[in-house]
Amino acid sequence: MHQKTQLQAETIRLISGTNTRKCMKCGKCTASCPAFAEMDISPHKFVSMVEHGEIDKLMASKSIWKCMSCFACVERCPRGVEPASIIEAVRQTVIRKQNNNYLRPENIPELLDPKIPQQALVSAFRKYSK
């Protein structure tokens, strides 16, 4: 593996606190994911992509923004791998770069919907911006 990609993968493992080698490739994460239909990369691939250092691809993927952080995959993974934590780490890596916020205050007015609780917006900010 290239040194840069190795470092990237190591960083993701460090931030997420996961051990990607524990994955036994059963696919229960993908089976559990309620946001699967919106994703371009399936949850079970997150783990092997980190294992193979394909972090750039993950950072550019739609999936990291579609993950609802419901933690169904974490709850049901029989090996304790925590795919959602991996995605959270990738998302944070993207957001931490300058001007990379996924959600900006100016986007809010168009998103406002009386059905969405205020708290959801607050947590969306926490999740999607620096």
Binding site: M24, C26, G27, K28, T30, A31, S32, C33, P78, R79
Partner: protein, 661 residues
């Protein structure tokens, strides 16, 4: 002063690659008591052994130290060699410089230094060794088999055939175990009852086999060759000797609320019941928690209708005390509880069942008469989903870390049988890996997929949602990289298996060890797979680890062979490395008696004369036949009166001194 010979083994390159043999040999030459030191490539070989024998004679050695592999491996070999050369076999010490040194170190210099320390430690101990003579104990020519499933039955039959008496203790009212509940058996698809019930009859009618059903082991004392066991025969409330097994009582019993355990709760049974038609013995038992007579005092209908007058409401538990030379553990397994796996909807829908429940549904003698019916409405299912690895291979603590081994095959069997009988039913199997090692096993699984059109999906089920009378199964198809939702009528969970819970208490009673999953541990995972580390205790069937019927039967017979080998001896050699108490130092505190796991220590009142006076004191005495030489008593003895032959306090201190030198 001892005359010690030190022999350093290379073990090919196993030791020699990491430890500098010459340095060790050279260092040993200057150790106190050592008169000879040499090395050889394979000390355990015939040539190596004769070098030792020759040296013993040539240098008139009084003891030898062999620096080689673990004593578990070759201590017996070198003891025999020493004995052949005229030495007492307990004048042999092993310095483990392979497992404890060469194999675990990389640095040659450090490993060599450690090997020298280990060798001189053994020399220091040997300097204080005294010749020991093993005693003898007798062997009771009778075996106890705990568990009356196929494992226990097979072990008992083989032991009985060799001419020894065998008692089977089974906690259920009938023998037969889990196999009696199965429908067909893989890979040949013969019916389980057809091949099991003749064996049950054989066991019951064998003149050397005695069945204790509806009974449990209460306590175990003694040791190999002389186990003393108390068996609790639970009150059946039916006189077994006069009951004719006509079954009228079971038909007339007005209580119908109890869950039928044999059918895994899929239907009800009476308070007085026979588990299944071919049960052995064919004698009913009253479930006192369900019986109206026991609950309210009224009823007693069974007693009125019994033509043999066999009902006895006043029956009490009976304790039988018996001696055995050997014990076979065959306590079997159960499917795990699914409380931690809510996602599969087992508690929410009757149509989500375990594989063992499906066995009962498919069984002609089962609750549906062998018809595949949906439990919720007795309708015919059109789509069935099987989920593999439910609770197996789970490291999160919700399930079991191990592979339950039998599920891949029985799921293929279920899928195939359903497709054979009901070709209109779509069968989907979600799998993580299909594991089918075994004779004709992979061919069997492929037949399910290729000839019977069972849809195998590489992936896992994430969720089963009962919706509008159907089960929405959301799973992954990893080959197609998609998420599936299947509308199913029934979902079958290949539930992990775990050892029966009695394993734990029996392990304590017998001082047999169990692993973190409560499976009994074998004496050696490869070379002694049917013996427990406790002498005289043998393992048969799933209580040792997950296995299918062919393997269980093979292991059961293997355990029987070991039992027969033991029972065929008239005398057993006892380990002479046992505790002994110095009565002059003993202060009678009883600490040793409390910690002794074998009950080998008794206290006696003894007269002592000192300074012209006679006094009466309580002192410890060790029963050498029972003592296993664990040394627990020597540690707790506050006055230093208790010591272990072959491992005296003095010897241990000499070893510590040698390490610290």
């Amino acid at each position: 002063m001892q005359r010690i010979g030190v022999f350093v083994c290379w073990c090919g390159t196993n030791i020699a690659a990491t430890v500098d043999i010459d340095t060790v040999v050279e260092a040993m030459k200057y150790e106190p008591g050592v008169v000879h030191a040499s090395d050889y490539q394979y000390m355990c070989s015939e040539a190596g052994q004769s070098k030792i024998k020759q040296a013993i004679k040539e240098h008139n050695l009084t003891g030898i130290v062999v620096c080689a592999c673990s004593p578990r491996m070759h201590e017996t070999t070198f003891r025999k060699a020493a004995k052949a050369a005229g030495l007492n076999q307990y004048m042999v010490e092993i310095a483990n410089i392979r497992e404890h040194c060469a194999w675990i170190h990389k640095d040659r210099k450090e490993a060599t230094e450690k090997a020298v320390v280990l060798a001189r430690t053994a020399v220091a101990k040997l300097n204080l060794n005294t010749p020991l003579t093993p005693g003898e104990s007798s062997v009771v020519k009778r075996a106890l088999v705990i568990g009356g499933g196929i494992a226990g039955i097979q072990s008992a039959l083989d032991i009985a055939e060799a001419g020894y008496e065998v008692d089977i203790v089974e906690k259920q009212p009938t023998i037969g175990g889990k196999m009696a509940q199965l429908d067909k058996t893989f890979p040949t698809l013969d019916c389980a009852a057809c091949i099991l019930t003749p064996k049950m009859v054989d066991a019951a009618s064998h003149e050397n086999i005695n069945l204790y059903t509806y009974s449990e082991v209460d306590s175990v004392g003694g040791f190999v060759g002389n186990f003393n066991v108390k068996i609790r025969k639970k009150a059946r409330s039916v006189k077994a000797d006069i009951c004719s097994g006509c079954g009228i009582c079971t038909e007339k019993c007005p209580s119908r609320k109890a869950e039928n355990e044999f059918n895994l709760g899929l239907n009800k049974r009476g308070a007085i019941y026979i588990p299944f038609a071919q049960a052995i013995p064919n004698v009913p038992v009253i479930d006192r928690d369900q019986c109206i007579k026991f609950k309210t005092g009224k009823c007693g209908l069974c007693a009125k209708v019994c033509p043999a007058d066999a009902i006895d409401f006043s029956q009490q538990d009976e304790i039988v005390e018996k001696q055995y030379g050997a014990v076979v553990l065959a306590t079997g397994f159960n499917p795990i509880k699914l409380d931690n796996f809510d996602e599969f909807g087992y508690s929410q829908s009757k149509d989500v069942i375990t594989s063992l429940e499906l066995e009962r549904i498919m069984n002609a003698a089962g609750p549906t008469g062998g018809k595949l019916l949906r439990p919720s409405d007795n309708g015919h299912p059109h789509t069935m989903v099987f989920v593999q690895c439910v609770g197996s291979r789970d490291t999160t603590g919700c399930g079991k870390t191990y592979c339950s081994k039998i599920c891949c095959m029985y799921t293929a069997k279920h899928a195939m049988l359903i497709r054979e009988k009901y070709p209109d039913v779509d069968v989907h199997v979600f799998y993580i890996d299909v594991r089918t090692p075994g004779k004709n096993f992979d061919e069997f699984y492929r037949r399910a997929a290729e000839d019977y059109g069972v849809n195998y999906i590489k992936g896992m089920v994430g969720k089963v949602a009962p919706t509008n009378g159907k089960l929405l199964v959301q799973g992954s198809d990893l080959i197609a990289d998609r998420q599936l939702v299947i509308e199913a009528d029934m979902v079958v969970l290949a539930t992990a298996i775990e050892p029966d819970q009695t394993a734990k208490s029996l392990a304590t009673m017998l001082t047999a060890s169990i692993d973190t999953n409560n499976f009994f541990t074998e004496a050696h995972p490869k070379l002694r797979p049917v013996e427990s580390p406790t002498a005289g205790v043998f393992l048969s069937g799933v209580c040792q680890g997950p296995k299918d019927i062919p393997e269980t039967v093979a292991q059961a017979s293997a355990a029987a062979v070991k039992v027969i080998g033991l029972l065929s001896k008239d005398k057993l050699m006892c380990n002479p490395c046992v505790a002994n108490s110095n009565e002059l130092l003993c202060n009678g505190c009883s600490n040793c008696q409390h910690v002794c796991p074998y009950g080998a220590i008794d206290y006696v009142e003894k007269e002592f004369r000192a300074g012209g006076k006679t006094s009466l004191r309580r002192v410890a005495q060790v029963n050498e036949a029972i003592c296993q030489g664990c040394g627990a008593c020597t540690v707790v003895c506050p006055s230093g009166a208790m010591d272990l032959k072959g491992f005296t306090n003095q010897q241990i201190m000499a070893e510590v001194d040698a390490i610290c030198r």
